[in-house]
Amino acid sequence: MVSPADAVAGAGHTHDHGPAPGHAPDNDHAHGGRSPHDNDHAHHDGNPHVHAHEQDGHIVLLEQRVLAKNDLQAQRNRAWLSERRICVVNLMSAPGSGKTTLLERTIRELGTRLGLSVIEGDQETLLDAERIRATGCQVVQINTGAGCHLDAEMMERGLRELDPAAGSLVIVENVGNLVCPALFDLGETYRVVVTAVTEGADKPLKYPQMFRGADLVVLNKADLLPYLDVEAAHFAANVSLVNPGADMVTVSATRGDGMTAWYDRLAALVPGS
């Protein structure tokens, strides 16, 4: 870690521009190949110097990723899960896409075969956990309160409480939100984004960060396609635009159409199932 003395005195130069803190440029320290600053200010050639109008105080270089703490916990989660051969699916979507219904059917038709257990994430209520519990499946509910996404720390608490068996499959139903959960690594094995046909074919273009991070996209409520001006192929093309490598299945969780393809993907995650 660079000490305050280094940052001011001499390992490069610090410079202030307006009220902002300066920071030493260039590569007298490692920073993964990225420049720590963008170059919209002038660099003075040559000698290290501190500007004459130097403000009080001193600069401390941190060069730390904002999400470092979450990512570290996510890695710990990943290691813990790997030791126990447990797979975690992070199920994300906008509110109302049918995630819980998809889960209920999956548990009914597949639960014992894959040793399924569930972590439910919602701002408030135990409603989703109760629906899952009614299927006989082991479930833990996390309420985030004002929070709009699950994070790695919540995941760790959830896993501790759930205590899934070795070699089993855990499905995490994230908070209904197409924006925030994409940023927070939980330590999961597999990322699934569920979209209902009623949301429109251009959803992937509007929320590229979420769709870009998906291993699998599930297009749900396919039974409603005859009533809508939406084509599954158009949606699939848009998924490919933002995520060429994404897998996709089209299902109706209420009717059961297309569910075999979804079950096959889950089974592939659990060796020996």
Partner: protein, 109 residues
């Protein structure tokens, strides 16, 4: 909004590295492709920083532009959005810069 969690992470990270310091300014790098809105981040930062050593600190946010590299034709090009398509037609493109979220430095009083 997730800027609240991001702001909290910034405050926590700085407070952990410099527990007794009074911070007057934080220099952040919020890439244009990071999915973070700087205005929302400023708003949230002010809220979460109050009652901490970062209370009242200024936020200096630089927003590096998106830069992508095509593995097929080996060129680098500017990127406005996360639609990763090269002019050569290849989708074998990855983001080189623009999605970073970094705390560069702080000014300590």
């Amino acid at each position: 909004m997730h800027e609240l969690a991001i702001a909290q992470s910034v405050v926590d990270a700085v407070a952990e590295r410099l527990p007794d310091a009074r911070i007057t300014c934080v220099a952040l790098e919020v890439g244009k492709l990071s999915g973070i809105a700087p205005d929302a981040l400023r708003f949230c930062f002010e809220l979460v920083a109050s009652d901490t050593g970062l209370a009242g600190a200024a936020l200096e946010i630089s927003e590096p532009a998106g830069l992508a590299r095509c593995e097929t034709c080996r060129t680098e090009f500017a990127l406005d959005s996360l639609i990763l398509l090269c002019r050569c037609g290849s989708a074998d493109v990855h983001v080189v810069s623009g999605d970073q979220l970094l705390i560069n430095s702080v000014r300590v009083a």
